[in-house]
């Protein structure tokens, strides 16, 4: 439930998208005070098969070393960074190389086995920043203003039925295919009917949050060869409840809205930028909004670069 935003620079070049999305999310702060998150695509500049891990580690003697040694037994840590965070935890970021994408999820699960440690995400083509608290505090803590990229999606959260912590902040990511993220405003009321078949196919659910369910659903569809537009359309037929959500992929973003159109979504574009958000107030941060389009009930849109 909450505020969502996404922005794409049409020329595929690097832009200060972190700064742009920060402003868009700050404008949606009133839609959710609990946590906020960013998935900023295109600016990481990793080599092929390199991945960036974000790991939440409790401030406890020896714990960080344990994490490092677990990672090192699989693959050497290429570079690392510690971000001081809040609530007695730090964020440990490290760059690693893996033989294939398929090795990423098992590594994450291995690290997650350590008590008081949780991997927030692992990515190749986007940078995930998510934390509890207000947008401007998170932006300052992670210096989002300096992040360059081609496109990004983000979220401000008003929690409903699941807990508030960094891990449950949006975006959610799926590892069924690489680098797919979802931010979501609303609720999936047939959650278990969507989740159960996906689990039976072997996909792993880490939370009871319905947004995680959406990201796995879309990733599953994409992995089966659906185009992003088609996956979005299928989701509108299959999922029940009020929702509008934005998907981020390595080459674009998409939005889908439930058939009764119960959650808001507006979009605007010009020659340079395509942007979607919960409210116009957010779009105004990245462009002139003389022409704002309402996303209609049951409608989906995608923009790929």
């Amino acid at each position: 439930m909450c505020g969502i935003a996404g922005v794409v620079y049409k020329d595929k070049k690097l832009h200060p998208v972190g700064a742009a999305l920060t402003k868009m999310l700050d404008a949606l702060q009133h839609r959710g005070p609990d946590s906020a998150g960013f998935a900023i695509y295109g600016g990481l500049g990793l080599e092929e098969n390199e991945y960036l891990l974000n790991i939440e580690v409790k401030e406890k003697a020896g714990l960080l070393e344990a994490v490092k040694s677990t990672v090192n037994t699989v693959t050497p840590i290429k570079s690392e960074e510690v971000i001081p965070s809040v609530e007695n935890s730090i964020i440990y970021r490290c760059k690693i190389a893996l033989k294939s994408f398929a090795a990423l999820k098992p590594l994450i699960m291995e690290i997650d086995k350590i008590d008081d440690v949780i991997v927030l995400n692992g990515a190749h083509s986007f940078e995930m920043i998510k934390d509890v608290g207000l947008v401007k505090d998170i932006a300052a803590r992670y210096d989002t203003a300096s992040k360059m990229g081609t496109h990004a999606i983000g979220h401000t959260r008003f929690s409903t039925e699941s807990i508030v912590d960094r891990y449950h902040a949006h975006p959610f990511q799926s590892y069924i295919i690489p680098d797919i993220t979802v931010v979501h405003n609303g609720q999936i009321t047939n959650y278990w009917k969507i989740r159960d078949p996906l689990e039976r196919k072997g996909h792993i659910f880490e939370t009871n949050n319905d947004t995680e369910c959406i990201v796995h659903y879309i990733a599953d569809k994409l992995s089966e060869g659906y185009k992003l537009e088609e996956a979005l359309e299928e989701s509108v037929k299959d999922m029940d409840g009020p929702f509008s959500y934005i998907v981020g992929t390595p080459n674009g973003v998409g939005i889908a809205k439930d058939q009764l159109g119960l959650r808001p979504g507006v979009m605007a574009e010009n020659d340079e930028v395509f942007a979607i958000a919960s409210e116009e107030v957010s779009l105004r941060e990245v462009m002139d909004t003389h022409n704002v389009e309402q996303i209609a009930p049951g409608e989906t849109r995608a923009y790929t670069i």
Partner: protein, 229 residues
């Protein structure tokens, strides 16, 4: 005419509305600069004042106004003029869902497209959309009139009980309890008066193309079958 201008940049809705309500007692015309799509502008304004919102307004612009005339020079978010009891809200750009939701009186004009559920639960008053109107326009409408100069989307007039929706463009589909009728001379005269007043210039023969959506029964759920028709 006594005029007043307020720049609302970096102000909270509470401060702005307080300032507007105070100024409304003294001035005839108030201009709000830099509204920046902020929510609840002019909420509960009950003075007969002219208010210009110079830019876009957010959600619930002019909610529950009584007697004020509000002019928004760009777009409005969801629910502009929500529950208005008397007055005028004019939006030069487009607007989101629920335009004129639950109004009891007054007129709402949006010059471009509007979102879904326009005029839901309205009891009286007038809503004009210069462009198209979305899903379930006139949902559970209990009175008043909606005029749509563009197309109207699915389930138009869903569960309408009283009132009328005039449409110039296409009607994608009708909702439960809605039916389409032709406009008669009185309708055309009424429409012409109304639209001319709000500066929509339509050629005379265009008025023949309006259709109107009206209720079938005034008790679609618990009434008797014989009440239909």
């Amino acid at each position: 005419m006594k005029e007043f201008e307020i720049d609302v940049n970096h102000k909270t809705p509470r401060e702005i509305n307080k300032a507007i309500k105070e100024a409304a007692k003294e001035y005839d015309r108030i201009t709000v600069k830099n509204p920046n799509a902020m929510h609840y502008l002019a909420a509960g304004l009950t003075e007969p004042v002219e208010l210009v919102i110079d830019g876009s307004a957010g959600y619930f612009a002019g909610t529950m106004v009584h007697g004020a005339k509000i002019h928004i020079t760009e777009n409005a978010g969801w629910f502009p003029a929500d529950n208005m009891t008397d007055g005028e809200v004019i939006v030069d750009g487009s607007a989101g869902d629920g335009v004129g939701q639950g109004i009891y009186g007054g007129t709402v004009v949006v010059r471009k497209d509007v979102g879904s559920r326009t005029g839901e639960i309205m009891k009286n008053g007038t809503i004009i959309a210069g462009g198209s109107s979305g899903f379930m326009t006139g949902l559970f409408m209990m009175g008043g009139r909606i005029v749509v100069l563009g197309d109207i989307s699915e389930d138009a007039g869903e569960s309408i009980i009283r009132g009328v929706i005039y449409v110039l463009g296409n009607i994608k589909s009708l909702g439960k309890n809605a039916k389409v009728e032709d406009v008669d001379e009185d309708d055309k005269k009424e429409l012409k008066e109304l639209l001319t007043k709000y500066e929509f210039d339509l050629e005379d023969n265009k008025y023949n193309e309006f259709k109107k959506i009206v209720p079938r029964s005034n008790r679609p759920f618990y009434g008797k079958k014989s009440e239909e028709g």
